[in-house]
Subunit: 217 residues, 2 copies
C-alpha cells in the first residue's frame, strides 16, 4: 500500500501538522492536495485502515509513527532530488519543486542512499530545509524570521517560508539567497517596511517579505 496518491496525502498531513498542534483538519488537506473534502474523508479512512493515521470522525487525523516514517522518507527523497537538481543539473531553486514532486515517488532504497552518498550527505536542501538522513533524523537550525531579527544584529539567511517561484525569483533579483548575511538598518514605523543590508547592498523590503525569510542570528 503505497500509491502515489497515498504518499501525497501523508506528506500533506505531515506538513500541515508542523503548522499547528493537534489534529489535521479535512479541509486543510483538501486545499493542499487540491481535492474536495469528501475525497479527503475517503482517503483518511483508507490511511486509518492501514494504520498510517489516527482518525476520529469529524475530528481530523494525526499521523501514527508509521505514517511519520513514511512521510519523512518521502520528504528525504524530495529534498535529496532538489539538491541534486541544483548542484549538478543547473536547476535554480525556483524550478526544482515540480520535478522533485515526481522524483520523490521513485521506489528504490539503493537509489535514495546512493544519491545521498553522491551528494555527500547534504543536511539541507536548496531552500534551506533540513534533509532527513537515512535514519530519518534531521538537523534543524535554530532560525528566526527576518522580521524578528533585532536591529543592527547580523543574521545569515538560512531558509524561506514561502517556497513559491515568484517569491524565490524575487529574492534572486534582490540578490538574497541561502547564506546571504543580512542586517536590519531601520524599521519604518509608518508602513512596517525595513531597510536592510543584504550582502553588499542596502535595500528596502516589505513586512511581507521579512516574514518569509528565515535567518540564523
Amino acid at each position: 500500500m503505497q500509491s502515489l496518491s497515498t504518499e501525497n496525502y501523508l506528506k500533506a498531513i505531515y506538513h500541515a501538522a508542523q503548522f499547528r498542534e493537534g489534529t489535521v483538519a479535512t479541509t486543510s488537506i483538501a486545499n493542499k492536495i487540491g481535492a474536495k473534502p469528501s475525497s479527503v474523508t475517503d482517503m483518511f479512512k483508507k490511511l486509518a485502515d492501514h494504520n498510517l493515521v489516527e482518525y476520529e470522525k469529524y475530528k481530523g487525523v494525526t499521523l501514527t509513527t508509521d505514517g511519520v516514517k513514511k512521510a519523512l522518507h518521502i520528504i528525504r527523497k524530495h529534498r535529496l532530488w532538489e539538491s541534486f537538481l541544483v548542484s549538478h543539473l543547473n536547476f535554480s531553486w525556483d524550478e526544482v519543486h515540480q520535478v522533485a514532486e515526481q522524483l520523490e515517488h521513485i521506489q528504490s532504497e539503493k537509489l535514495t542512499n546512493e544519491l545521498d552518498r553522491f551528494l555527500d550527505y547534504p543536511t539541507h536542501d536548496p531552500h534551506g530545509d533540513p534533509i532527513p538522513n537515512r535514519a530519518l533524523f534531521m538537523k534543524t537550525h535554530n532560525k528566526i524570521l527576518l522580521l524578528d531579527l533585532p536591529l543592527n544584529k547580523e543574521g545569515v539567511c538560512v531558509g524561506v517560508k514561502d517556497n513559491s517561484s515568484d517569491f524565490l525569483r524575487y529574492l534572486d533579483r534582490r540578490q538574497i539567497g541561502i547564506g546571504t548575511p543580512i542586517l536590519i538598518l531601520h524599521r519604518e514605523e509608518y508602513d512596517q517596511s525595513l531597510h536592510i543590508q543584504a550582502g553588499n547592498s542596502t535595500l528596502m523590503i516589505t513586512e511581507k517579505t521579512a516574514e518569509n525569510i528565515y535567518v540564523k542570528p
Copy 2:
C-alpha cells in the same frame, strides 16, 4: 494524454516491432505488459483514438510517427537513467532496469536534457543499447551475434540480447562485459558449444549464451 500505462504500451509496441516486420499482435503485447489480451485491445483502441498507433480490428497495431516519437523519448530517458545509475550511483548493469522503469516516466524536458549533458551525451547505455539523442536519433553499431562471428576473428562485445539479471550476472562471473574482446577458438559440433577467448581467459560457453551476446567484428 500520457499516463504511465500508455507510456508502457508505447514502449512495448516499439520493442515488439523491432523483432518482426508488420503489425504487432495483441497477445505479444499482453505477454510483455503482463496484462490480459482483452485489456490490450482496450488500450489499442485508446492509442488509436489519440493517433499514436494504426489499429485495424484483428490485425494488430503499428506505431504512427507520433507514437514512435513518444516511444523513443521514453527509451531515451530510460537509457540515460540507466547510464547515470551505473556511472555515478554504483549500480551494476543487472540492477538498473527496474529503477529505470520508474524514472523513465518523469516528465521534465530540462531534467532529461541536463542529465544528458551531465553524462556528457552518452551514445550507449550500460547494456550497449543506443541512446536516442535530443533529436531522437540513435547511432546503431553494426553488430552481429557472437554465434555468427567467424572462427579466429576477433570481435568486441558491444551488447547483449537477453537483458535478464540472471544472464547479466552470469556474464559478470565469466568476466564478460561491454568492451571485452572475444575470439572463437573452436566450435564443438556435437553440442554446438564454443571455446572462446574472452579478455585474458579461455572458457566454454553454450550456444544459448552465444546467441545472446552481440559483438562488433
